[in-house]
């Protein structure tokens, strides 16, 4: 019950999110999907990851998305154009290919016999000890990646003088 209810919510809201014509509605459904994912993480015994999912994904990344959508100032005409585009059968071919690929991956992953092993919860203390112990270079690499993202955003964000 801790898994299937949020899993159903996540699947349904993700489906809604990728089929909306209005970006703001889609982002709000995406937030619901992320919150359901946080519940799933909590059920899997990853409490720290669940908190990060709410704080970073739903709190920071989607809000950044929403700010940019506000700056884009999309009007009704844009949503209407998107709705007209989606009324055409654009979904048929992607659904076929995605279903084929998904079936292949599912067969490869779940078809093979794999010994069952009861997993256990991983407390945040273990994560922190590993992250700031053996895996300290990963933290440095993450900071470098974020610095590169910052520099590129600043560079791209400046409008060139006419």
């Amino acid at each position: 019950m801790m898994f299937w209810a949020p899993a159903a919510v996540a699947l349904a809201t993700t489906m809604l999110a990728i089929t909306r014509a209005n970006p703001v509605h889609a982002l709000l459904w995406f937030v619901v999907s992320l919150l359901a994912m946080a519940v799933i993480f909590f059920g899997l015994g990853a409490a720290f990851a669940a908190a990060l999912e709410v704080i970073v994904y739903a709190g920071a990344i989607v809000v950044l998305f929403l700010f940019v959508v506000m700056m884009l100032s999309l009007d009704r005409a844009a949503a209407l154009r998107e709705k007209i585009f989606m009324a055409r059968p654009v979904w048929v071919v992607p659904i076929i290919f995605v279903a084929l690929l998904g079936a292949a991956i599912a067969f490869a992953v779940f078809g093979a016999p794999m010994p069952q092993m009861a997993g256990s919860a991983v407390p945040p203390r273990d994560v922190a000890l590993r992250l700031f112990g053996d895996d300290l270079p990963a933290v440095e690499l993450a900071s470098l990646l974020l610095l590169a993202g910052l520099v590129v955003s600043f560079h791209l964000g400046v409008e060139p003088k006419k």
């Binding site: 899993a7 884009l72 997993g119 256990s120 992250l131 895996d135 590169a148």
Partner: protein
């Protein structure tokens, strides 16, 4: 504790939904959101694997995926804003020329 197969199946389904959105949508806002959905599904798979083998590595990789998603989204949205200023539309099809169209 949940069996590892059900979270892995959910991650597969969410990844495929994100891929579907990436292939079928034209608006670049939705394309970026689909990429986020796919990254999130990968994070779920890492968490499930970390639970299956009772190791913190899964959550560490999830934090790395989170960093990657943040940096990717910042650059993608900056590009989106520049594209909007240049083309006045958000259709991915409008940006097929690598040169100025003047």
């Amino acid at each position: 504790m949940t069996d590892w197969r059900s979270p892995a199946g959910l991650a597969l389904a969410l990844f495929m939904l994100g891929l579907l959105g990436l292939l079928a949508r034209k608006n670049l806002v939705f394309v970026l959101m689909s990429v986020e959905i796919m990254l999130n599904a990968a994070g779920l798979l890492f968490i499930a694997a970390g639970m299956r083998w009772s190791t913190p590595d899964g959550q560490i990789m999830f934090i790395a995926v989170l960093n990657l998603a943040g940096a990717e989204l910042a650059i993608g949205l900056a590009l989106l804003l520049r594209l909007r200023g240049r083309l006045t539309t958000l259709d991915g099809d409008a940006a097929i020329l690598l040169r100025d169209s003047s």
